[in-house]
Structure formats: C-alpha cells, structure tokens
Symmetry: C2
Subunit: 357 residues, 2 copies
C-alpha cells in the first residue's frame, strides 16, 4: 500500500451495499446529538455579533459522504439558527448556503440526486471537492462548520507501518489495533500532523465567533482498540484475508503491506491535541452516549456497515474479487464466532464544540 495521500470514499450509489443505505449506525449517533447541537447553537452562536449586515449564513459539512446523514445534520443546524436568532432579533431574512465537502472522488452525483428538490429545501446547496486536510473554502467564509465520524480517517497511511525494515512495520494486522507500541506511535505521529492541519484549515475558513461542531469516535483512556468490538471486527476481517492468502487467493505480502489509514485516539490524547491550537476555544468536549450502544448489533448490520466503509479501500489494494470474497468469509466467521458485545470494550462517541476566537 502506498503511503502517499489518497482517498477512499464511502461506497457510492444507493444500492444495497452503498454507504447511503448502510449508515444507519452513524445516523443514530448523529440523531443522538441533535438536541445537543441545537442547544450549543442557541447558547454559543451569536448571529448579530458576527455581522449586523449578514444576509447569507454559510454552513459546511466536512466529509459529508453521499447522504442522507449530512442532510439531517444541516437541516438541524438551520432550524436551530432560524428558530431562535432570526425570529427573536427580527433581522433581515437570512438565506442559507450549505457546502457539502468530501474528497473529489466522493459520489457527489448521488448526494445531489438524493437531496430534497430545491423547492423543498431551506438552503442553497454546493458540493465542495477536496480533502479536509487542506483548505477547501475561502477565508472567513463559514459561520458554522460540522464534521461527524470523519477525523479518524488519516490523510494517509503513516510512514513506516508498511515498511518491512521498520520497527513500526504492521506486519500481521491491517489496522492500528494498539497491540504493537511502535505501530501505535507511528499512527500517533500522523494523527497529530493531520489534526493540526485540520484545525488550522478550519480556523482560516470559519469566521471569528463561528462554531465548529465535531462528532467522532475515540477510545476511553487506557482502552486499546483490540479490546473493542470495532477493533475485533477489523482484526477478524484481517484474519479472513490471511486465510485467503493461505489458499493462494491473495498474497501474504500484500497483506503485510496493507494497513488502514485510521486512528482512534484516546479521549485525553484528542483533547490535548485540540487544546494546542489557539485559534479555537473548546466550549464543550464530552463523551456522548450512542443511542445504540447498549443494543447488540445483528451480524447483518455489522457486515453491511463495515462493507460500506471499507469496500473501496480493500478493493483498491486487493482487487474486486478479493473484496467480495473477504466479506463473504467475514460473514461466515462472524456467524461461527459471534461477538459478545457485553464482554467487549467500546469505541465511544465524543462531542466537541469549538468556537473560533
């Protein structure tokens, strides 16, 4: 696997395997913080202080994928702004413009095709192609930014983890599961770099007084990924690949040179990282309950969810035949070794509200 910057969008289209139809877990998480987001906007967003002549309020969703979650998010933000500030302060009727950002190879066609028609929307829609680990919007152009379940995707696979000569070579795993200290350290370095770029880019794009709302997944302090059910699932997918290599359906070397560009920081580690950047104040940062966290997921849901997320990246490295086979095998392995959700640790959800100084 190349360690250069690359993007692996969520599965495109809107068929049975698409992210569009397999993001209900993410949706539940997003719905779960709907009211919190609303309260944050009421408390921390002061429209009149921003600009008394404001006629367009600009919102951006960074890493929007193909919908429909992104639509719920921005509609909630717009409702929150409208129902309070606009009415109470009787300012000029605001227009809303929403920037849906994701990688250039994200399936924007499905995004545009599946959003409500303009006559039923309260906002003007724009798609913004580009990695959010870079500037994607003009300076001081966004009033409220949002991102959910995105920043665990690094901009690239960390250096060394696919280097056979490195101590950080992630030989036997396809993810940073925290079993190997050197590997974890390599991922941490990349995570810090990326987080710095992310925060600095958003600091330029968001107006002073503007908000950045972040929903994501992290680990509780002291919990390694390999003990969480999400970590177990991905290690299990890695085992399926290994089984296939033994049967000659792919090669061990291919697996040894493959590692997901995904890193889940521990809560305090994330907090420290954000605190370093002086352009935002952290108005709120807390662990939030995922509405489904006590509901054991069916194998079917687990398979569909991880297939929608990981299909593109596995396909690009191993080819189309392997990716289909690996998810078939994963389904069988999961049926034979069901996950005991009560016994596992969890990736937890965090909610963070940043305010641009």
């Amino acid at each position: 696997m190349s360690t250069s910057s690359h993007s692996y969008p969520m599965s495109s289209g809107d068929d049975q395997h698409s992210y569009n139809n397999n993001s209900s877990y993410q949706k539940a998480g997003i719905d779960g913080i709907g009211e919190k987001t609303r309260q944050c906007i009421l408390k921390h967003f002061d429209l009149l202080n921003l600009n008394s002549n404001l006629s367009t309020l600009r919102i951006a969703d960074f890493g929007c994928a193909t919908g429909p979650n992104t639509f719920h998010i921005v509609e909630n933000i717009i409702d929150s702004v409208k129902s309070t500030h606009v009415k109470e302060n009787n300012v000029v009727p605001l227009e809303f413009q929403v920037f849906f950002n994701d990688q250039p190879n994200n399936d924007f066609s499905t995004l545009f095709r599946t959003q409500s028609p303009s006559s039923e929307r309260e906002y003007f829609s724009a798609g913004v192609p580009g990695s959010f680990y870079d500037r994607v919007l003009p300076r001081n152009s966004i009033h409220i930014g949002h991102t959910s379940y995105t920043t665990h995707w690094l901009s690239k696979v960390p250096e060394h983890v696919c280097d056979k000569k490195s101590l950080a070579w992630n030989k036997n795993y396809i993810q940073c599961n925290n079993l190997l200290e050197e590997v974890t350290r390599a991922y941490q370095v990349q995570f810090k770099k990326d987080m710095k770029v992310f925060v600095e880019a958003r600091a330029e794009e968001i107006v002073p007084g503007g908000l950045m709302i972040v929903l994501g997944q992290c680990l509780l302090d002291g919990v390694p990924l390999f003990k969480t059910w999400q970590g177990i699932v991905v290690d299990m997918i890695g085992d399926c690949l290994m089984d296939m290599a033994k049967e000659g359906l792919t090669s061990e070397e291919k697996i040894e040179l493959f590692s997901f560009p995904v890193y889940f920081p521990q809560f305090t580690e994330l907090e420290k990282e954000i605190e370093q950047h002086k352009s935002f104040t952290i108005e709120m940062m807390e662990i939030v309950r995922h509405p489904l966290e006590d509901t054991p997921l069916s194998n079917k849901v687990v398979i569909s969810m991880f297939r929608a997320i990981l299909y593109t990246i596995i396909k690009e490295h191993f080819g189309e035949d392997v990716v289909n086979e690996v998810f078939d095998r994963f389904a069988k392995k999961l049926a034979q070794n069901p996950i005991d959700f009560n016994e596992c640790e969890k990736n937890v959800n965090y909610f963070m509200l940043l305010k641009r100084k």
Copy 2:
C-alpha cells in the same frame, strides 16, 4: 414527451462520445471571446467600488456541463481580475471561489475528477446543482457570472407543441425550425418566460456593480433556423427518426410527441427581451465571429458534436437502441447528403455584457 420541466444534461463521462471530449466547437467559440471578456473585466469591473473589505471574489458559471470549457472560462476571468485590479490597487490578497452550476443530474463527478488538483488551482471549487431557471445561489453573493451556449435550452418543451389538438402541434419536426408560425410563437412564449426568470434570478444573485457575461447562439434578424446548417442537421436527425418509424423501429406517434426544448431567438428579439429587465444595463451586445465559422466542419465532427448534445434527450424519449441507431443513420445520410456550408445560413454567436445596477 412531457412538457413539464426536465433536464437533459450533456453526455456524461469522458469517453469518445462524451460532451467532455466533443465540445471543441464550443471551446473554439469560448476561446474566441477570451480577449473580449478580459477587456470587459478591465473596463467594467471595479473591485474597489464593490467592497473595500472584499477578501473573496465569487464567480459562477451557469450551465457549466462537465468541463473542460468551464475551467478555461473561469481561469480567464480570474487572470483578468488578478492581473489588473489586484496588482494595481494593492488590496489584500484576494481569494477566489468558483461556483460551477448545472442541473442536479449533470455529471459533476467528471467535472470534479477532471479539474486541476487544488494545489494547481487559483480558486476554491464548488459544484452547484440546480436549474438556472431558478435561484441557485444566495442573494448578492456573486461578483462575476458567466454562461455560454446555454440559454437556448428552454426550461421545458413549450405547451401545445406536443398537443395533437393544438394549432401549435409540431407534428413533423423535432425542433422549432421556424417553418410553422404557430410553433415558433409557442416557443417564443416559453423563451420569454424563461429569459425573464433567468435574468431575475441572476439579478438577485449578482452584487450591485457585478457583471454577467453571456455567450450564446442566435439567428440574424430575418433568418429562419431551417436555413442554417445547424437547423438542417437537426431536421436531418428528425428524418432519420421518421425513416426508422416507417421500418417499425420506433413509432410515428412518438416522433409527433417529441420536440427539443431549444429556441434560438433572432438578435433583435433577444436584445429587446433583455432590455426589458431593469436590473442590469447592457454594456455590450454584439455578434461575434466564431473562429471556426468559415471552416467547413467534417461530418465526423458534426456527428460527434450533435451526439454529445442530443444523446440524453433522444435516449430518454426513444430508448437506448433508437438513439444509437439514429446516429448511425444520421452518419450515413450526412455522407450521402453532405452539407454545403457555403450555401447555408448560420446560427451566429452573440456576446453580451450585463452590469448589475
């Protein structure tokens, strides 16, 4: 054919039949007005007068299709603004944001995939899905708008031309070729409605002092479409459909209920229409020479160009088999009856510069 509003984007993708690879005639026209556009911006666009605190200059291309023409256009506009106003007046470095607008079913994926990477671009890119016969952008948000070869596409097929009981029924033709007065009148009514909506929407979106640059095709006063080579080409495609109906490959009734939502106004008719709308001044309106207008086009170019433009709309009404067959037949008919470009009248190109009052 339904007369309700509908969109027929240029052929998607970037294969041999795509608009992306078959829009060189349009490109030549656009290149031909590059210097004129530049001069217009120098003379009529006063950045400092717009807003002394301006930090982002916003440009929109309405009806951008899939590229690459739209990229050349916006780069020329940006260069013009940069090389003059910015340098001379020494203002804060401007950032540019470009809104690429087209119908939601336009192939934005190809647009985003084929544009230069952000590191090589001088602007932030955004795709805006929606018909330009409606608002697609916030009030007062655009400094320079542009559209080329778009407004001859009406928002829908005019009422009555597909109504068997109407005097305006366009029974034997698939376009408004100006042979039937009642049909022409029906198209004129729709054209006026659409032009009104187009100008009014742009008037809201463009800031006072902002520019709207329009490149399009029209007819010289007194010249009917059926005498131009473009009109002859489309009538010939209609004849091919009729031949196919006689052989049972499609039905005559289908043809009788089909008419392109395209209208080419005469120059003075267009001018009058624009003058009525008081929100813009017409700074310039003139016939411009198309660089290829004295070069007889090869049959191959004619076929590819019209295939890229008309493929989607013919396919939607007649089906995929018919559209492929009809272009095969058109190629043969054209080989047997080559167009005498010297004998034909021409659709001419016009250039129009509007300034928002």
